[in-house]
Amino acid sequence: MPGVHVAQKIEADTVRFGLLRRVRYEPFNYSRRWSLRTLFLIATVFLYAPIVVLVIFSFNDSRRGGNVIWKGFTTKYYSKAFQNDELMLAFANSLTIALVTMVLAVILGTLTAVLLWRFRFPFKPLVEGLVSLPIVIPEICMGVSLALFFSSMGWMKTGNLMWPLNLVNITIAHITFCFPFAAMVIRARLDSFNRETEEAARDLGASEWRVLKDILIPHMRPGIIAAALLAFTLSLDDFVITFFTSGPNTVTFPVKIYSMVRFSVTPEINAASTVLILMTLILTWLALRYQRALER
């Protein structure tokens, strides 16, 4: 049937030269559609615009209501933020808590991941459920329950201890919601482990400890590093749970910013936020570089 052939030829030419916009799409070629691309672009702007505006207005030379009208460029709010002792203490607190949380969450997470991966035992689904529970329950419930727990144990007074011991409540709370995430990430990595390697090592006389140190941990390493970064960010990011477990003397960066925002909106808050955003960017970049290095 020559007619069909000609029609196909015309269609092919139309596509090739883009003469008519009626392009015949492949079924799964949605990323080529301009309507969807435009939507994607608008949504991305929707996600980024507030952050970009926040960074721009951290350089705004206006004392009050600093986020409405642009009054000229200044960096004085950065030096002001860095000279704000309370803010800097809150920043140091946040970093200390995040570091301790990271280390302990990774240790607990690794052990739990190995437990769930390696052993069969009674009530295992129950234990798996327990480990994933802190991930799914609303933050406010966890914050409230920990606040009541600490106060009924008489631990709320730890806020008067010497730094950094006074941060122990917040750190415990952070470890509690971070390590299940770490366990999940590491558990997922263990799925790709080839158990024959382990058996071979055992047959060749390696002890339990050698197998762990020389075979299992090296295999888990990418998972462990991903888990560490996740725990660090989650801890640094948390507001709600910290808000309930912190005392007047133990304030983290997000809690401090929160009280500043309630008091008044100033470019100083923008400057401090920009510093934190920059830190997040650097961390992400390091994580990406590490991942790249692994793939090579």
Binding site: P27, F28, N29, Y30, L36, L39, F40, A43, T44, F46, L47, Y48, A49, P50, I51, V53, L54, F57, V68, L108, G109, L111, T112, L115, W117, R118, F119, R120, F121, V127, L130, V131, P134, V136, P138, E139, I140, C141, M142, V144, L148, F149, I172, I175, T176, F179, P180, E208, D237, F239, V240, F244, P254, I257, Y258, V261, V265, S273, I277, T280
Partner: protein, 309 residues
Amino acid sequence: MQQRAGQRPAAFIATGLPGIGWLLAFFVAPLSIILLYSFGENVSLTQVETTGTLENYRRIFEPEILKLGWRSIRIAFISTLICLVIGFPMALVIATSSQRAKPWLLLLIMLPFWTNLLIRTYALLNILGTRGRLNELLVWLHGGMRQALDIIGLSEAGLLADRFTPITFLGTEGGVIYGIVYVSLPFAILPLYSVLERMDTSLLEASIDLGAGQWTTFRRVLLPLALPGVLTAAVITFIPALGQFLTPDLLGRGQVDMIANVIERQFKRANDWPFGSALSLTLLYVTFLLLTLRAFSDARRARRTENRG
């Protein structure tokens, strides 16, 4: 090939005890304490006694609290719906991009998600004010539309008001929904992406080859196949949205309180711990209910595909 715990008791205890013990001490015990408190009453300013009273649970059914609960569900539901409607096409774009572009597009979406939640909500304050950037943008669009109408000679038709009245976002439900969509959109995109990415495209090709149009294929083949991801995305967006504290607190200006704000007030100001405990447990039960429904629908689908295969 997993080992029985009895085969290596020492290794079993060494790997199990720290994590599980930690959860029992700092997760299960605190939850048990709010369970106890929810059946208690204030005997003095700082003392709570568990008396087995159901008064706290009865108070949840007071009209004021019910109204708040209904508002929380409404706000969370609308936000989830918007997230799905925007998130689905976005996930579709990422899933169908070239292998090289994929990780970068994903990173683009996830990067704001890694930025501190408080900072992101604070950033919205500047955008959503009556003199904020979003209203500025709307004024600009309004002006542009008026000029366009002028050019085609329709400016007298009264299609647009002379001046643009700024929209109040802060302190309204609209503003809170905007905020929740903003913070949870990446949450919704990930599960959608992962189901679309794994999709068997030969089914779509078969549908097209058998004469179905693009739209029919999308509606009758792609969407049903993506349904598990849509459900996951819905649950994963709805649960945190329902318990949102920060967004209604900062963007609602105390006028659009949700359940979490009432809970916070019981602990920080009203000092009514038993009632706060009962409220947070109720929120927890709603969460469990949703997760159970989700698990059931998964199990049903698994059975159905099994029967077919």
